[in-house]
Amino acid sequence: MLYSRSIRPGARSYCIEELGTALAKLSQNNNSRGTAAHVLPFEKRIVELEARLEQAEDDDTRNEITQELEREREQVFAQLTPWQRVELARHAQRPKMMDYASRIFEDFIELHGDRVSGEDTAMVGGIARFQGQTVILVGQQKGNSTDERIRRNYGMAYPAGYRKALRMFEMAERLHLPIVTIVDTQGAHPHPDAEQRGQGPAIARNLLYLMGIKTAVFSVVIGEGGSGGALGIAVGDWVCMFEHAIYMVCAPERCAEILWRDASKKDIAAAALRITAHDLKEFSVIDAVLPEPGGGAHRAPEAAAQVLAQEIEQFLVRAKNGDWTPERRQEKFRKMGVWRDVV
């Protein structure tokens, strides 16, 4: 751009326009390619039935297909292997943080920068309105198109992202606003620059701050909750997970590599690590499992958003009643874990 301006002053806007169109085309291509390619093998039959339902002409056939679709969905989701569950949680078409933000909140004013070193686009934060009430919204945005994913670094934040989140938390506490965090990340970004700027200390600082924060914190894992990078914004009074989301100490492929030096044993690791929403509920690590009606959030994003909105609404009512105290939150996290006490 600078180059064109230096030779022909008038050429600049033209160049930008052209580049914009090209980028838009590119992302459109990516999206359309995405739609076709992102049907997971075990979903094929469901997608077929859905297509037939759309084409069905009379009510009888429609009812018949609907019933079959229900059966098929139930069967498929009940039989998923642990690795298929991981694939589902990482599904490119699952709604992202921003998709929920636009569906659930009346308004969202994004704020930028960590006030220390920069702006991290993987971590989004700002002021949102929920049924006339102001909340602070923070979450990782993985991105919907290839160029957005690159721009957002696939939802993997640098320390600047965690410090931006911290800045939002501090503001929320000062202004007595409840916090909603939306978790969707493979983890904090493993990069030499991230290390240099203190990735570990940045996450640790958030954990400590959220543990003592004097305002209500709601957290939801919508897709992937990857290790410390997820926990860094997920120390909530009420932590919930979507039915097909996963939350884990370490990605199954990493676990397989570390324990058995063989990443292809990821299926075995995925089963052993117990990473599904129901597993976590069983361990009392989360407080609720949010159902995904209509065959998963990626197939019925609107329905999933409604479920989440209801959960947030209930949480905010309880927040108004003073149900959430820092002491209760501390007690909840202090109880987590299973150990033996051999006297």
Partner: protein, 283 residues
Amino acid sequence: MPFLKRRRFVSVIGRKSQVPDGMWMKCPGCNQAVTRKEIDENQQVCTHCDYHHRIGARKRIEFLVDPGSFQETHMGLQSADPLGFVVEETSYSYPKKVKESTEKSGMTEAIVTGFASIENTRTVLGAMEFGFLGGSMGSALGEKFCRAADDAVRERLPMVVFSSSGGARMMEGILSLMQMAKTADGVRAMNAAGVPFISVLTHPTTGGVWASFASLGDIILAEPHAHIGFAGPRLIEGALKVKLPEGFQSAEYQHEYGYVDQIVSRTEMRSVLGKLLAYLAPQ
């Protein structure tokens, strides 16, 4: 063609102290021959190059505290197997690993906690044991840390913890991840009560331990050349296909970028801690 071979990054991870039984040994740091006696008398630190051989939690406590002052606490807390992490396909059994580790290291968990005096200041002390499942943080470790922190709050004593850990203990899954939040709360309680918390980083302090209590000290000290960081070098190199510079994530690196207050040689640790504790202990 060997001259085209990429020079591999020399990681400080995987340094093992190879102390043979003989009278002489070769120091892995400077390759010089040193007598075992010399090293033994110098707290397992090379007298030529200051290379720190890895030591266990018991030895560390012995080197550090006023003789006879250590009273161990919370000894009964041990790891359970909450996930049922027994994988037949790879014949991997977590309970078996815990048992083996216990036999090998003589420890029941990857941290020892207790009360001690360091140069006459009473303190709560924690020392992690890398020899016990890589010093990994599971539920029992998190609980022990928090109980020790609560001891410090109740008795109004400072707390010192020596970290040495590969990170969270995968075999306890999500529960080990939650220990990060839990131990951070232990530190929060000490902060709120106004008792000082000194974190000492020894080789290695990585992953979930670095991203929780170990980096939350009021004061953070490190042993020379200790490996300290969040994401492991293998993970970063694998994910980004980059070569990491020599000295990446070393104690000196963390000191340079502002995450470590001082690098303190093991032989100096006692006097440095003694002074800090005397100055900072709640009056």
